[in-house]
């Protein structure tokens, strides 16, 4: 057995061990450094386009946003330096604090609903992959539709007058007494939004998790079958647990998407009624682009960014560890 401090030495067909001295280690390290240094220019050259793009599209806007957040900007009036004033105001602003609560509710519900539905459908589809191709494509198509278009589709469903599909349907089946101005009622508006957004976001989890189910070895399933496991047991003890990596990826992507969601909310409720569906993303838009308080909006953006980072960094670290 070779000691950790010993290195195998080859020569004349006999492998022997000899102690590695400090000088050998230094020589090896220097050689590694030289090789690394020699590779550096090529590495940076290859990375340059991405780094330049990253600097322009991410780093520069981020620095600009941080800079803006320290200024009190109202419309086209000259900006005044505010220091951390925008952040202090933000956390004393009842509308913003309410937007945080709404964002939490929105993010948790839309993520759980869309991933839960996607997972369930993926497991069902895994039972008959070929027969469920068309439904899978159709459900994924909804994910491909822009959020704004999704908003308009659901606006047609929820609208309060006779043209609203949901109310018309309720009336047609004799439940007209349940017809309701869904988006005008503060108690129903947020849930209507959550359903609409989750519907559009189910396609991605479905495809990701379905792919994970297809990666499960047929041998494992056949072995379980031979051992007497029925379809339910195979689903519960084999396919569902082995699809979890797909579920984790879907959760991560949909969670970040929900945090940043804006278009559907804008089209369906405009943050109302009485700001009850206003998320941080919508708050940021309203302050920045409707009222043109760019500094205040930038401060809200940074809070949202912090939330995204808090969620995404541990997830990225976890995924990186798994990759090793």
């Amino acid at each position: 057995m070779t000691d950790a401090t010993q290195a195998p030495v080859s020569g004349s067909g006999v492998t022997t061990s000899s102690p590695v001295t400090d000088s050998d280690r230094r020589r090896l390290a220097a050689a590694r450094r030289r090789r690394w240094m020699a590779d550096m220019p090529a590495a940076y050259l290859l990375l340059a386009p991405v780094l330049v793009l990253f600097a322009f599209s991410v780093v520069y806007p981020l620095i600009q946003t941080i800079w803006l957040s320290f200024w009190d900007i109202k419309g086209l009036y000259p900006p005044k330096f505010a220091g951390f004033g925008n952040f202090v105001t933000l956390f004393n602003d009842a509308t913003f604090l309410r937007a945080i609560v709404t964002t939490l509710l929105w993010t948790v519900c839309t993520t759980v609903l869309s991933v839960g539905a996607g997972w369930g459908l993926a497991l069902l589809c895994s039972l008959a992959p070929k027969a469920t191709l068309i439904p899978r494509v159709l459900i994924f198509t909804a994910f491909g539709v822009s959020e704004a278009v999704t908003g308009y589709i659901w606006l047609g469903i929820y609208r309060p007058d006779a043209g609203g599909v949901l109310n018309a349907l309720l009336s047609a089946i004799g439940l007209g007494q349940f017809a309701h101005p869904w988006l005008g009622d503060a108690n129903t508006a947020i849930w209507c939004l959550i359903i609409a957004y989750s519907w559009a976001q189910t396609g991605l989890p479905l495809i990701l998790i379905f792919a994970a189910t297809q990666a499960v070895s047929r041998n494992v399933i056949e072995a379980a079958h031979i051992d007497g496991a029925g379809p339910g047991a195979i689903m519960r003890y084999i396919i569902a647990p082995l699809s979890l990596p797909g579920v984790r990826v879907a959760l991560f992507i949909n969670l970040l998407g929900s945090l940043r969601a804006f278009d559907t909310i804008y089209v369906l409720t405009g943050g109302g009624p009485v700001r009850t569906t206003e998320t941080i993303g919508f708050f940021m838009f309203r302050e920045s682009f409707t009222q043109f308080k760019l500094g205040y909006g930038a401060a809200a953006t940074l809070v949202l960014l912090a939330a995204v980072l808090i969620i995404s960094i541990p997830a990225i670290i976890q995924r990186t560890k798994e990759a090793k």
Partner: protein
């Protein structure tokens, strides 16, 4: 002597030539000849849409026909709702234009304070705009004595749209003149299965009711004081207005709060003009064009307007109005063409184009026979009233948003206790907005 005389003549001739050249140069640079040479590209920052956009296009074509050397270029902003954000974003991102459309006095102030608007007072004098527009239109387009906008259309915002069929169905033969008659008609409308008023409170149009009631109860001077925050939002005039509005709500004017909060102004218009499920709507005069071009209704026959009912508080001679104006940027690349357009917009040709598109022109050169019945009624109503600009458009950006939201809260709960809470919230916001 002769030599001396010839020498003097030469000097005189030289000086006369120099003076003549100088005069010619001065003349060449005067605004009159400057304006006469109208050519090049005129860039309009435009946020109009739908049928209003068609009218703007017709105006551009009319101007180019009169000035063949000019090409119009439009910078179109795709906007849903309040266009100010999009205009600010365009300007801050370096978009260049000569002229733009404005409808918010508060925004005019913001742009003027930022040095972005050209003072049009010299143009008013040199182009004799006063021959076509009355002083009151100059006053409405002015700020601190300087003219920044030439009004090209205006609307009566104290007019209630209704569909004639709907009124017939409810057995209402004559439109109400007084508040009591108006409220008394609710019973007839409701008996016919019609909700008396369509209030589109999803975004902003519910404020129209607050404003017309406020102005009729308190007059234009109080309205001006409130919008400039010389009186607080906790003032009894505001509370009494909300209490009066609460009377309507309690009388079943508008359905549930959720019904109102689910409707934007266009849904409310559909409810009145298309479905006939609701009786009246207060909205801008663009609804006249919308009803004709989109719904295929005939103005004055299929639908009409009636002025806000008299409330008997001594201020029934008031009308809420809105205007749209063209303003010129101080950095306009083609000021000659911009000036020429702002002058042309007041002429007979332009005024008639506006009238043909179903809107009112402030020009005294307009042919009134081109007006539809609704516009004719509204023009006469505004002419006979003390105009008060739409109050929401006079509020600073910060406050206007809160104003809309607090009035939505009022609709959810029109109790006296909530009126106190709503007015207090408005006052708190106002205190930090001016």
């Amino acid at each position: 002597m002769t030599t001396k005389t010839h020498g003097m003549a030469r000097i005189f001739m030289r000086r006369a030539t120099v003076a003549g050249l100088g005069l010619a140069t001065v003349f060449a640079l005067t605004p009159h000849s400057y304006a006469a040479d109208v050519s090049g590209t005129l860039v309009l920052l435009d946020w109009a849409s739908g049928s209003e956009q068609d009218m703007i296009k017709a105006l551009e074509d009319g101007f180019v026909k009169a000035n063949p050397g000019v090409q119009f270029k439009e910078v179109n902003l795709t906007v849903q709702g309040d266009a100010r954000g999009a205009i600010r974003a365009a300007l801050q991102s370096g978009e260049k234009a000569d002229i733009f459309i404005n409808t918010w006095p508060a925004f005019r102030k913001e742009l003027a304070d930022a040095g972005l608007l050209k003072d049009l007072t010299p143009l008013w004098d040199s182009a004799k705009l006063g021959d076509n527009l009355s002083q009151s239109w100059k006053d409405l387009g002015s700020l601190d004595g300087k003219l920044y906008g030439v009004t090209y259309t205006f609307g009566d915002r104290s007019a209630m749209f209704y569909k004639t069929d709907t009124m017939k169905k409810a057995g209402i033969d004559a439109q109400p003149k007084t508040w009591d008659e108006f409220v008394a008609n609710f019973a007839k409308l409701k008996a016919a299965g019609i909700t008396p008023i369509a209030v589109g409170a999803k975004v902003w149009s519910h404020t129209e009711w607050f404003e017309s009631i406020y102005e009729h109860l308190n007059g234009v001077d109080m309205a001006a004081q409130l919008t400039s925050h010389k009186i607080p939002w906790t003032d009894p005039s505001v509370k009494n207005t909300l209490k009066k509005w609460a009377e309507l709500i309690k009388a079943g004017c508008c359905g549930d709060a959720a019904d109102m909060l689910a409707m934007d102004w266009d849904n409310a218009s559909d409810a009145v003009m298309k479905a006939g499920t609701h009786g009246y709507q207060i909205i801008g005069m663009w609804n006249n064009d919308r009803a004709q071009s989109t719904d295929g209704l005939k103005s004055g026959t299929d639908f009409n307007i009636t002025q806000f009912p008299a409330m008997g508080a001594g201020h029934d001679d008031v009308s809420s109005v809105d205007t749209k104006e063209f303003s010129e940027f101080s950095g306009a690349a083609n000021p000659a063409a911009a000036d020429a357009f702002l002058t042309w917009i007041t002429t007979k040709d332009a005024a008639n184009i506006i009238a043909q598109h179903g809107l009112a022109s402030p020009s005294n050169k307009v042919d009134p026979s081109l007006y539809s019945a609704v516009i004719k009624y509204s023009v006469d109503a505004v002419a006979a009233a003390k105009p008060q600009f739409v109050m929401g458009d006079l509020l600073p950006g910060d406050l206007v948003d809160e104003y809309r939201v607090q009035l939505q809260k009022f609709l959810q709960d029109p109790s006296d206790a909530n009126i106190d809470a709503v007015t207090q919230a408005l006052e708190t916001k106002a205190a930090s907005s001016y």
